[in-house]
């Protein structure tokens, strides 16, 4: 009985914290989606694991500006979803391979594969983190304009999620962070230097 409690109580604590965090992220995603003009049912995806990453990709796609290495627009929804799922999939495969590695003789091959897969997993997690950060930056750039760089840095230096949480709070509840009416953030910055154009614009 005591052993069962020792297993169950930490699991319940973990589950409660996980649900609470997801709930808070869901509310933040809802507010940000409203600000970014997403009015369909997908704005509630923030309340669910994995789907929240899909929503992140969808929000990132609102920004039309391309990164220098993008030849054309990327499907950030799929990229973010794959990034969030990849860790779980790799962990499952590694678990199975580790189980298989106890088989005599053949198990050695499986353990070798699991070592290489582990190294590959590190590389994949790097790439996924970088891509997710780029997707987040697209949201920051669209909503916060010139404040986007320090927001990105904040979400990077308080890795993995405290910085992002703070930035999402700012974006969701900060009144000055909203979708620009007819300019992309860099255009807003540029517009300051061309008063002549501003005066002549139709």
């Amino acid at each position: 009985m005591l052993g069962l409690l020792i297993v169950i109580i930490p699991f319940l604590i973990f589950l409660t914290v996980f649900v609470l965090v997801q709930l808070i992220y869901g509310i933040l995603f809802l507010k940000i989606s409203d600000k970014m003009g997403i009015s369909d049912g997908s704005r509630f995806f923030g309340f669910f694991p994995f789907l929240s990453e899909w929503l992140l990709g969808k929000l990132a796609q609102v920004d039309e500006e391309l990164y220098p290495f993008e030849k054309k627009k990327w499907n950030w929804k799929v990229i973010c979803l794959l990034c969030s799922v990849s860790g779980l999939v790799l962990a499952l495969i590694l678990g199975v391979l580790n189980l298989l590695s106890i088989i005599p003789f053949i198990g050695l091959i499986f353990s070798l594969i699991s070592i290489f897969l582990g190294l590959f997993g590190v590389l994949v997690s790097w790439v996924c983190n970088i891509l997710t950060c780029l997707a987040r930056f697209k949201i920051y750039r669209k909503l916060a304009g010139n404040d986007a760089p320090w927001m990105l840095v904040l979400s990077l230096c308080l890795f993995p999620s405290i910085g992002t949480f703070i930035v999402f709070l700012l974006l969701a509840f900060g009144k000055k962070y909203k979708l620009p009416s007819n300019h992309s953030p860099s255009d807003r910055e540029n517009a300051k230097t061309v008063p002549a154009f501003e005066q002549q614009s139709p």
Partner: protein, 257 residues
């Protein structure tokens, strides 16, 4: 590997300093001074990209943060040794006894003994003053650990922000993925600095050069056309034709609605 990374970072900082016209690029080879140099490069980036805005002394901020962070870490290590010493040896008890005698001589020992001896009697190795030192050290360790954590985060923030500013000045739009790469891959920063410093493709751009990009050209063209035609109608027609990318996108959005 460590020496290679150190050399790459130092050479990178030196060459980038040369490009941006910042003096004393050799400071990149000296620990702590390299922090000041990176901050100074960020200041130079601010001066060139945002000449109208208030300049922040990034060099001094980064230097002081790194010094304070290292100092906190050093004191933390020393305190750990003190704790280890007090906890695992009888010498701690001997030292505390001599201190207690000194306090008794001063006439305030009774007060201390009244408070601390009943507690310390239950401890095998720790006497009253050792007890105070021991728990004082623990409290200090906690405080310093928190301070070190906050300083560490602040230092990383300033480092990444300074890097972003340097990348922004030299590489423009590439700055975003460069700073993300620097955050995740430890040896990326020296390599990127070296590439930025050595490659002639990355040169500091003035604000005018940065704003004369492809996206902005149509806007200039439209304004000229509008000026030539000297009518509002021409300008409106150009805008509908897609000369204003964002306005065009907005009107497309309205049509879809």
């Amino acid at each position: 590997m460590g020496v290679l990374v150190y050399l790459a970072r130092a050479f990178g900082l030196m060459t980038v300093s040369g490009k941006l016209g910042v003096k004393n690029g050799w400071l990149g080879f000296i620990p702590f001074a390299d922090c000041w140099l990176l901050g100074r490069l960020a200041q130079e980036s601010d001066a060139q990209l945002k000449p109208d805005e208030k300049r922040r002394p990034w060099g001094k901020i980064y230097l002081w943060l790194s010094i304070l962070n290292r100092a906190a870490a050093f004191i933390l290590i020393v305190l750990f040794f003190v704790l280890f010493f007090l906890f695992f040896s009888d010498i701690g008890a001997g030292i505390s006894n001599s201190f207690r005698e000194f306090i008794n001589g001063a006439g305030i020992g009774d007060v201390f003994e009244e408070f601390f001896l009943p507690i310390s009697e239950n401890l095998t190795h720790l006497t009253s003053l050792a007890f105070v030192i021991f728990f004082g050290c623990i409290a200090l360790v906690f405080l310093l650990a928190i301070a070190s954590g906050v300083l560490g985060v602040a230092e990383v923030f300033v480092r990444l922000y300074a890097e972003y500013k340097v990348y922004d000045l030299l590489a423009g739009k590439h700055a975003v993925w460069m700073v993300i790469l620097s955050a995740f891959v430890s040896f990326a920063q020296p390599v990127l600095l070296l590439i930025l410093g050595l490659s002639s493709a990355f040169m500091p751009k003035t604000s005018e050069q940065r704003w004369s990009n492809e996206r902005f050209k149509p806007v200039q063209t439209v304004s000229n056309e509008a000026k030539d035609a000297d009518t509002e109608e021409t300008a409106c027609k150009s805008a509908e034709d897609g000369a204003f990318p964002s306005d065009g996108a907005q009107s497309r959005g309205e049509e879809e609605k």
